[in-house]
Symmetry: C5
Subunit: 232 residues, 5 copies
Amino acid sequence: MASMQGQYVAYTFYKVASEWRRLPIDERIAGKEHFAEVVEEWASRMEHLHVYSTSGVRADCDFFLWKITERYLDLEELGAELNATPLSAWLGTPHSYLATTKASQYTSARRARKIVPRGSPYLVVYPFVKLRPWYALPAEERQRAMDEHIAIGASFPTIHNHTTYSFGIDDQEFMTAFECDEPADFMHLMLTLRESEASRYTERDTPIFVGHRVGIRDALDLLDGAAVRTRA
Amino acid sequence: MASMQGQYVAYTFYKVASEWRRLPIDERIAGKEHFAEVVEEWASRMEHLHVYSTSGVRADCDFFLWKITERYLDLEELGAELNATPLSAWLGTPHSYLATTKASQYTSARRARKIVPRGSPYLVVYPFVKLRPWYALPAEERQRAMDEHIAIGASFPTIHNHTTYSFGIDDQEFMTAFECDEPADFMHLMLTLRESEASRYTERDTPIFVGHRVGIRDALDLLDGAAVRTRA
Amino acid sequence: MASMQGQYVAYTFYKVASEWRRLPIDERIAGKEHFAEVVEEWASRMEHLHVYSTSGVRADCDFFLWKITERYLDLEELGAELNATPLSAWLGTPHSYLATTKASQYTSARRARKIVPRGSPYLVVYPFVKLRPWYALPAEERQRAMDEHIAIGASFPTIHNHTTYSFGIDDQEFMTAFECDEPADFMHLMLTLRESEASRYTERDTPIFVGHRVGIRDALDLLDGAAVRTRA
Amino acid sequence: MASMQGQYVAYTFYKVASEWRRLPIDERIAGKEHFAEVVEEWASRMEHLHVYSTSGVRADCDFFLWKITERYLDLEELGAELNATPLSAWLGTPHSYLATTKASQYTSARRARKIVPRGSPYLVVYPFVKLRPWYALPAEERQRAMDEHIAIGASFPTIHNHTTYSFGIDDQEFMTAFECDEPADFMHLMLTLRESEASRYTERDTPIFVGHRVGIRDALDLLDGAAVRTRA
Amino acid sequence: MASMQGQYVAYTFYKVASEWRRLPIDERIAGKEHFAEVVEEWASRMEHLHVYSTSGVRADCDFFLWKITERYLDLEELGAELNATPLSAWLGTPHSYLATTKASQYTSARRARKIVPRGSPYLVVYPFVKLRPWYALPAEERQRAMDEHIAIGASFPTIHNHTTYSFGIDDQEFMTAFECDEPADFMHLMLTLRESEASRYTERDTPIFVGHRVGIRDALDLLDGAAVRTRA
């Protein structure tokens, strides 16, 4: 059963407590420093570890981590090391999503697709659940619907799909993730897909997060506007 | 793909922590001052930045910002500057909505409709999701339903529609926004629309926010009744 | 469009933070005094302003205000004056509902029905949303269903209906409100209505609040049992 | 309309704030003492007042009160007296349910059934809402379905049903309550009922609470393990 | 009715308050020590008591206990003893699930299946509710669907099913639990089951928790990264 193993792909969302902003600036700087060091160290230990800010846009989170590793326990260990930083005493985790890779049944892929981030400036992520009748459709019908879906996606060449599988290991069926150059581009893709056949079998595709790719230090400096204050 | 770009239209809702009202009045005044300065500065940098109060009416928020800009990162930067103000240590953001403009498919528009606020005293805003079968209707049928919808709207000339698109970039499909002279007027429009064909394809159209257009300093003075106290 | 204007009818629900009960009794008394003064002053400025307690019965609130006024901004101003009282630093507002009056389409009324409280000891209030297919029924069919509904209501002469309209200005379509002499009476009316045709088109009719009509000072003294303690 | 009046039956659920466990033990003891005295006094004033613990089992509550009285305002007054105890400054009320008795339409009862607790060691309680099509079934069909339901119940002689009516006075239609000797017995009854016809018309029957009948002092001593500590 | 009795199987999920991480390290160590002692003592008194960590993966919890006992009141007593530990003043319980065993109606079992943990490194747990029409299917049809379901499960020999029954004693119908060697294995099983007939009758199967089997001291040391810090 070793062949089943692919990558684990996880997204953890953070929101700082408002009260943290009442701390002395030195304490905030030190807290951010420790947190950033852990993230930077793990960025070199894990296959991929990227940071995306949602500051100023999402109400329920400030930034998130995109974590990719073949070793499940990396997720636990990274979590514990972040728990050991002073900033973690002020951070909530409103959302966290777990998924894994596998060979797609709708393409000619024979082995688990490998997720390789492109480094685009934006990442759109959302948990996805299909209506159960989708799974009762004949295989050819599903193949046809997915062919249409894939063809529409292919007509947006600057948008890169990194969808992974969460069946039975988290509350959604898929973690859908798309890298893109500009959020409005992705809106146009999704609007076009809305009329496709596969779209009718959607049960849930929210919450939808638009993340802006930043370094961990920039993400943390957005929490109290430190970057802005320094700049001014 | 540059042609896809229109305006980003975002709404962020704020609620002050009850405990903030226990602070000394000078601390509250200073906190409001910094916050107001940031909003006023950005009002001149962004295409549009307006403030609406929901004080005394909505349970879940006190005021909201209507932000319009072509540059997505303005939203992040404004958010970070507000995070740098002392008041932000006491403000929650119960809701935030992101949308963008595009050419309507139901009118003869050829380019993304430009959102231009009229400055009416009230703005009604809500996230909107249609039932998926709507998107499977033949184009002519949808056109007919929307024609009826638009005709009803046109019979309320003091009400101005500023609907924008959120597909794939937030949890709703549309951000519906209407400026009007009096909240009761809008109730009559919506009641009339309820019998229209398009209305049957509504999946979600809540929460609905009625905002009263005010200056940022007035919005903040409503939080602790400072305006009232001064007046008395 | 002036004819559209009727009364605004709003309900705001309050719950005191448990921690407030840890304050010294003098501080609690002073806080209640200021809050009561504002309510009493506005009771003479607004068309109607009544207080109902839910203490000991509802888990999510302690008391609520029934506010009736033709001037929308009264709601904002009353809210701001309450925000200026010390008690507001310990009060949450778990719910708030906004509605307005209009002429009923199911009776021979020609102008917006005027809401006039009878002063019954209990007020039952709940937000109400009908299923969309209701609005697609032929007018005669809806009239027939409402005739049945109204006839059942008329057979409970001690129960007085004060329903108002929230389409487009709040998350419900109607605010249903009934004054009655005893909560059990209303249970029997609702049980009887359950078999009516109109009842089948209910999408949501919760939360349901049973309020006990009290003076504002009594409502506040129930929060920390002060009335009881004095009496003992 | 006096004949409509039966008993009010209410359930209020309490959860202590975790922080309460940080208080000095003497303060905790004194707080529990006052709360227990109020409950004990009212147990002799109300028709019935019983205490059930959910400690160690439910995530959202620690204990609940089963209150039975013909006088509605007893609920308000008991609530106010509990609000006057120091422990109430640390207790939340995650749930509270209100119901009343009436003559059953499915038995030969002619007057409101009187609720008389048997004193069994366990009480299972849950709010219950039926699908609206149930109420549109012909009376004979509903009678037949209820006959089956009642017959199954009768085959579990150690389980006692105390269902009451909440239509229009709370968010559910019924408060279902069963006394039993052992929680597993009730599981077997409910599993058997799942295949009955009436069961198909269930819209909501959660949350389900299994309460263990205890004295109020025992219920409170479970909150900080005082009983256990003393015993050890 | 003694034959009805099997084992009670309960899962309680814990999340530490972020603020706990601000405590001096000695206070944290002492708090963890007391909590661990209670768990270790009860591990020898209960039939089974195992600890699983979700640190770094789930947003809503840090670890959970899998409790198996024939005596219902063990759950209350263990809960009270944990309430007596200092750590419990900082622990929330976001979820807790109660179930019991019985003879399966779809196998040849004649007595309540006994739950015996295998000690696999991972345990996947989720509450499960079937659509009501499932219970109206003829017995043979359900048997056929379950045969298919069981056969698919059998083709994953490293995955062990420990499903128990919650009808009427908690908010779900079943507590589904599977031990496995690697989370990705379970994803493949669930993906395969998605096309089975029984799967179409699923109403709810979330939240899904992947627990990593650890000792109680390790679970607690993950909360503030103590293990990591020591190791470094």
